[in-house]
Structure formats: structure tokens, C-alpha cells
């Protein structure tokens, strides 16, 4: 039986991704994020995953408002990188697994998750950045799961947690004895516009990191507005971490925690091991 062996919550802040891509991670300023990141990389390598589920959001680099999904899933053998504006160099496509993604889709739709199913999907830094910060080349095929956190109305925090629960059931129903890791990206606090643009809520970020392992359901019971008020309009994307927590069993061990408030974003990192 396939099972989820662990989960990773990780920022997809372009600043962090840029520092990684440029090899700046060794600089002392960056150590509070990149030292734990090195531990997370080592954990992931030792975990030998067969499949990675990546819960992420796009930033108008693929989906547009002509048809904007609440949840979408990539069902393809390969995902190109979105032609993202800016200085991001070209990276090779991210490998998928059509057959496994199709089975997960079937299980999720049977559980009343109304997924938009994408046979073609380009991934922006929301997925591709954290994945390459965590491992390169990819240790396993990826099933990307897109979430609307960009335009209200967005799925409730409790819906994200339920998404994780359902993903765990979907994985348990896979035919093979696979080791699966769930990666959720985004956050932590950031507010990119308005009079308080650039502010970070470090207290809330550290509280969230401390409570997610043991109090996932309580954090999922907060409202979207709670997340916006505490973490900023853009930082509310942190709700995606609830899907990662929901996908894991009640008993988890936090094996890596990292945090660095820098630039305009609280960079968070959390690795939870099942069981």
C-alpha cells in the first residue's frame, strides 16, 4: 500500500528562489533559511520518495481569469516551466506520472473534490521554485495540485485541510507500495500592496510554524479573513500548508523548522515526518 511518509511546507518567495539559483544560500544573512533548507534536502534524499504531491498556487503565469479554477490537478507526464516574466533562467520540465495522477484524480472526484483536470500545465515559481530548492534533479515524479489563493472567493482553510485528508485516502488506494511526500508551498506573511506593503508579521509566522504539527485542525478552523488579517493579503496563501498537514496522520514529528524574515516575506520551512 502506498503511503505518505512526510510533508514539507516551504515558501515560494522569489527572493529565496533567486538566492538559491544564484548560489547565495551560503551567505550569513541567508543562513536561518538555507541551513534548515540543507537539512530538508538531506531529509528528502534519505526519504527516497517515489512520488511528490505539490500543492501550490500560480501567479498569473499560467491560469487567467477567463477560467480560473478553485482546485486543478496536473495529469501529464511532464510539466514545462511557465514563461515567467523576469530574470528566471530556463529550467528543464518537471516530470509527472500520468497514470498515478489519473488514479489520484479519480479518487478525489469520487470524494467530491471538483478538480479541474489539466493535461497541459506550465508551472511557475509557486511550484517549480520550491521543488528545485528541495532537490535537483527531481527525485521523483510530481503531481501538481493548484489552489486559487489569489482572487476571492478562495477555498476555506477547512477545505484545504479536507483536501489533504482526501489526498491521503487517494494515496492509500494506489495499487503500489509507493513512498509519497506532500510539498505545500507559499507564505509565510507578506503584504505586497497598500499602505502596509512590505510588512511581515513575524509573531504570527512563528506561531503558525509552532502550531501546525500539533494543532492543524485548529488552524484549519480559522477563516480566510483571519489569515489575511494576520499574514497579509498575499501571505494568506499559507493556507495551502493546511493541505500538507491534513494529508499526514495525527502523529507527526517535526524534523526541520526554519524561518527568516527578510525583504517583504517571512520565509518559512517545515518538514514533518509521519508516525
Amino acid at each position: 500500500m502506498a503511503r505518505i511518509i512526510g510533508g514539507i511546507g516551504i515558501t515560494h518567495s522569489p527572493a529565496a528562489i533567486f538566492a538559491h539559483d544564484k548560489g547565495l544560500g551560503g551567505k550569513p544573512d541567508w543562513a536561518p533559511f538555507f541551513e534548515p533548507l540543507a537539512q530538508a534536502r538531506a531529509w528528502l534524499e534519505a526519504a527516497r520518495p517515489d512520488l511528490i504531491l505539490c500543492v501550490y498556487n500560480d501567479h498569473l503565469n499560467h491560469f487567467f481569469f477567463d477560467a480560473y479554477p478553485s482546485f486543478a490537478i496536473g495529469v501529464a507526464d511532464e510539466f514545462p516551466l511557465a514563461p515567467e516574466a523576469g530574470a528566471i533562467p530556463a529550467f528543464p520540465p518537471i516530470p509527472g506520472d500520468f497514470a498515478l495522477a489519473a488514479r489520484i484524480t479519480e479518487a478525489m472526484v469520487a470524494r467530491d473534490f471538483d478538480l479541474t483536470v489539466c493535461q497541459e500545465l506550465a508551472l511557475d515559481h509557486g511550484a517549480a521554485g520550491p521543488l528545485r530548492m528541495l532537490a535537483e534533479p527531481w527525485p521523483a515524479p510530481v503531481v501538481p495540485i493548484f489552489v486559487n489563493v489569489l482572487r476571492a472567493p478562495v477555498p476555506r482553510p477547512a477545505r484545504l485541510y479536507a483536501l489533504g485528508r482526501a489526498l491521503a485516502e487517494a494515496v492509500a488506494a494506489l495499487p503500489d507500495d509507493l513512498r509519497v511526500v506532500v510539498v505545500a508551498t507559499g507564505g509565510l506573511s507578506h503584504q505586497l500592496h497598500g499602505p502596509r506593503g512590505g510588512e511581515i508579521n513575524e509573531e504570527w509566522d512563528l506561531d503558525f510554524l509552532a502550531r501546525l504539527p500539533g494543532e492543524g485542525e485548529a488552524l484549519a478552523a480559522l477563516t480566510t479573513r483571519d489569515y489575511v488579517v494576520r499574514g497579509g493579503a498575499e501571505g494568506a496563501e499559507t493556507v495551502m500548508w493546511l493541505a500538507m498537514r491534513g494529508a499526514l496522520p495525527d502523529a507527526v514529528r517535526p524534523v526541520v523548522t526554519g524561518y527568516l524574515a527578510t525583504g517583504s516575506t517571512g520565509l518559512g520551512l517545515l518538514v514533518l515526518e509521519a508516525g
Partner: protein, 99 residues
Amino acid sequence: MPDFDPERDILPFDLAASRRGMRLNRLGHALRDPATRARFAADPAAVLDAAGLTAAERTALEGRDWRALLALGASVYALAKIGGAMGVPLPQIVREGRG
């Protein structure tokens, strides 16, 4: 740090904003594409003309008035791409957008 006040501090990006900002957001979405960015670099007016912007949108955009653009319904992620094409990095947009 005190909490953000959504009513005072945050312009919510909701369906009403998404409707208002459709032209600006489509422009931002188009500018993710290197070919459009190259066309914009060569002849910004031509790309803006094709975007069918209103006069208010055009004025705010040419004036790099990020706050006005947000009020006109632009998503901050569309602004990031529009700013990028104009040579303005996102941190500067965040800073100047404080008003």
C-alpha cells in the same frame, strides 16, 4: 506588529476587482511571455494600444501609479509583470505602492 486591517490596509482582490481590472490583468498575463515582453521593449505604445486600456488605465500605467492601478482592479501579480516589463522590480512597486 499589529494585525492588518483589511478594510483600511488591503484592497481585496475579489470578483468585482477582477472584472474592473480585466484589461490590465490581461496585459500583465500577456507580458509573462518573452515575445510580448520583447515587443513591449521595442515599442511600448503599440502593446498598450493593443491592450485596449481606458484613458484612466493608460494614464495610471504610464505614470507608474501603482496605487491607482490597484484601485482600477489590477492584480498585484499583473503589476509585477507590467512593472517588470518597464524595468521596475516588484520590491520597488511594493515600496512606491505604500502611497
